[in-house]
Point group: C2
Chain length 356, copies 2
C-alpha cells in the first residue's frame, strides 16, 4: 500500500495547484481504501457480494477527470480553508461517488456500451450472464445489477458526506435532487419530442444536469466547509458560465469527437435525440436544423451531417471563449485566498478546452 | 389540509398502540407535505418534473403496510422515548421512503406489473410512452424513469434521515447497504442457479433483504434515538425471528396466495426462481424439490404444483408459530416501557399472520 504524507508542512508557501493535488491524492486514497474495505467486508457476508462492490471500485479506479472533487477542494482552499484540516476530503469523495452512481444509471438509460475505456457496468454483467448461460434475460440481469451498483454508490456517497459539517446537508440534498430531476427532463424531452425545443430548454437541462453539479455546487460545498458561504454568489456566476462551457465541450466531443480519445462512444447524444446545448445553438443559427428537430424526424446521420455543414462548430468555439471570459470576470473581485483567482482561471481553461 | 393535534396531552396514560398511531399519523402528514412541496417546487423549475416526483408520491399515497415506520416508532417508545419529542418522526419517514425506493427498483428487476393495486412505476411510464407514440423503446424509457424515481426516493429518504441524531448515521449506512447487497445476492442466485442452494442460503438472503431491514434495524434506530442503544441485542433477537416469520408469510402468499387480496401478482418469486425461505424448507422436506431446484430445470408450474402436493404449507405454518414464540421470548426480560412487551407481542402476531 502506498503511504501518503498527510501534511504538507510548509503549505503556506505552496502553490494553489500543488495544495489541491496534495488533497486530491488523499481523496483518492480514501476512496480506494473505503471501497477495498467494503469489498472485503461484504464478501465475508456472501462471496458474490464482491461482484457488486467491485463494479463500483473498478469504475472509480478506471480514472475519469475528477472534476467535481477538484472544484470542491478548490472552493475550500480558495475560501481560505486550512489545508491541514481534512474536513473537506469526505465531501470531495462523496461528489466522486455520486458521479459514479449517476454514470452507472445514465449508462443504462442511454444503453451505452463503454465508459472510461471499459464496458459499462450493465454491459459487463449482461455479458457474464450470456457467457455462463444463466437463467432469464441477460439484459434484465445486467441492468438490474447496474441499478443496484448505482444505488450502492449513492449510499456510499451519502456515507462519505455524512461526516461533513451539518451546514452542507441542505446543499447536498439540493445538488442530488437537481441532478436527478435534470436527468429525468433530459430523458423525457429526448423521448417525447415535445415543443418548444429551443435553446432555453437546452440550457435549462445543461445547467440542471451538469452545470450546477459539476462546478457551481462543488465550489459552494467547499466554501461552506471553509466557513465562507458568502462566496456562493461569485462561485455561482463562475460555475454557471464555466459549467456551460464544460457542457458545450462535451457536446462538441459527442458530435464531432473521436471516441478513441474521449473514451466514450461518438454521437450518442445526437443519436438519442438529446436536446443538447450544441443543438440549441445550431437550431438558432440554422432554421433547417430547427425543422429537422422540431418535426421529430431528425435521423442521427442526417443531423450530424447537417451539423458539420452548418459551421456550428466555429460558433460554439467562440461561444465557449465568451463563457470562459465571463466566468473568469465573475471571480475577479471575489475575496479569495492568494493565487486562487489565477488558479480558478487556469481551471476554467482546462475544463473548457479539454479533449476528453 | 387536515390539521393534526401534535401533542397527546395525557399521553402518559395512553396505551402503547394509541401512542404509536398518533406518531404514525404525524409521519404520514410529514411525508405527504414533503412530497407535495417537492412536487410544487420541482414543477416550477420544469413543468414535467411533477411526473417524476408524482410517481413517488402516488406510490407512498397508495398505502402499504407501513411496517418499518411502525417498528421504528415502537422501538423509540418501547425504549422510553418521549412521545412529545418528535425526533423519531424523520427517521420513521426515511424508512418508508427507502422502502419506496427499494420497491420501485426491485419491480424493474422482477419485471413486476402491479404494486399496491396499481401499475408499477416503470409499467406506467412505459405505457405512457406507447400510448403517445414517443421515440425510442418504451421499455427503456419506463425503466429509465423508474430508475430515476427510485434514486430520488433514496435521496429523499436520506434527506429525512439527515435531521435524525448523528448516532444513527452508522446504523443508517449499514441498513441501506445490507438491503442492496441482499437484493443483489437474491437476483444473482436466481439467475446463476449456482450450487449449493440450500436453506442456509435462503435464510441469509431473507435476513439480509428483508428481516433486518423490516424489523430489527427499524427497532434499533428507534431505540438509538431514544438514547437506549443497549436494547439492540434484545431487538436483534426479536427482529431476527419475527423478520423470518414475516418473510415466510410473504413466501406463502406468493406461492399460494390470492393476488386480489395481496395486491401483488401471485407466484412471481417461484416463476423467477427466487431462492425463498419457503423453497429452502421445502427442499429439506422433499428431495424431489431439491432435485428440481438444483438441476436448474424447475419449471414454475411444476414447482408450484409440487409445493402444493408436498404439504410444505403446514410445515411452514408450524415454523412460523415457533418463530413468533421465539421472538416474543427474546423480549420477555428486556427493560421496556410499560405495556410495550405486550404491544410488541401483538405486533409480532399481526406481522406473522397477516393476509396481505
Amino acid at each position: 500500500m502506498t503511504t501518503i504524507d498527510t501534511t504538507l508542512g510548509e503549505h503556506t508557501s505552496a502553490a494553489p495547484a500543488q495544495l489541491r493535488e496534495h488533497l486530491m491524492e488523499l481523496v483518492e486514497q480514501r476512496l480506494r481504501e473505503f471501497l477495498r474495505a467494503e469489498c472485503d467486508r461484504r464478501s465475508r457476508a456472501h462471496s458474490r457480494a464482491a461482484d457488486l462492490v467491485g463494479s463500483i471500485a473498478d469504475l472509480v479506479a478506471a480514472g475519469g477527470k475528477r472534476i467535481r472533487p477538484a472544484f470542491c477542494i478548490s472552493g475550500y482552499l480558495a475560501a481560505g480553508g486550512d489545508p491541514d484540516d481534512h474536513r473537506v476530503l469526505p465531501a470531495a469523495g462523496a461528489l466522486e461517488l455520486l458521479h459514479a452512481s449517476a454514470l452507472i444509471h445514465d449508462d443504462i438509460m442511454d444503453a451505452a456500451r463503454r465508459r472510461r475505456g471499459a464496458p459499462t457496468v450493465h454491459e459487463r454483467h449482461s455479458a457474464t450472464h450470456r457467457l455462463r448461460g444463466w437463467r432469464g434475460e441477460d439484459r434484465r440481469y445486467g441492468e438490474g445489477v447496474a441499478v443496484l451498483a448505482g444505488d450502492l454508490a449513492l449510499v456510499y456517497a451519502d456515507q462519505f458526506m455524512a461526516t461533513a459539517p451539518p451546514l452542507v446537508d441542505a446543499l447536498w440534498a439540493e445538488l442530488r435532487t437537481e441532478l436527478i430531476v435534470g436527468q429525468f427532463v433530459d430523458v423525457h424531452v429526448a423521448a417525447a419530442a415535445e415543443l418548444p425545443v429551443d435553446l432555453d430548454l437546452a440550457r435549462w437541462i445543461a445547467v440542471a444536469k451538469s452545470g450546477r453539479y459539476t462546478i457551481h455546487r462543488p465550489l459552494e460545498v467547499g466554501a461552506a466547509i471553509a466557513g465562507r458561504p458568502e462566496l456562493g454568489a461569485a462561485f455561482e456566476a463562475y460555475g454557471a458560465a464555466i459549467g456551460e462551457a464544460f457542457q458545450l465541450r462535451d457536446d462538441l466531443m459527442d458530435a464531432f469527437g473521436d471516441g478513441q480519445v474521449t473514451g466514450k462512444p461518438d454521437g450518442l447524444d445526437v443519436e438519442q435525440h438529446k436536446m443538447t446545448l450544441l443543438l440549441g445553438l445550431a437550431m438558432r443559427r440554422d432554421l433547417g436544423i430547427r425543422d429537422l428537430v422540431s418535426s421529430g424526424e431528425a435521423r442521427a446521420g442526417r443531423l450530424r451531417t447537417r451539423l458539420r455543414e452548418t459551421g456550428v462548430r466555429g460558433d460554439v468555439e467562440r461561444h465557449i471563449d465568451r463563457l470562459v471570459d465571463e466566468g473568469c470576470r465573475a471571480i475577479a473581485q471575489a475575496p479569495l485566498a492568494a493565487g486562487w483567482r489565477e488558479e480558478l482561471t487556469e481551471m476554467a481553461h482546462l475544463v473548457a478546452y479539454r479533449d476528453r
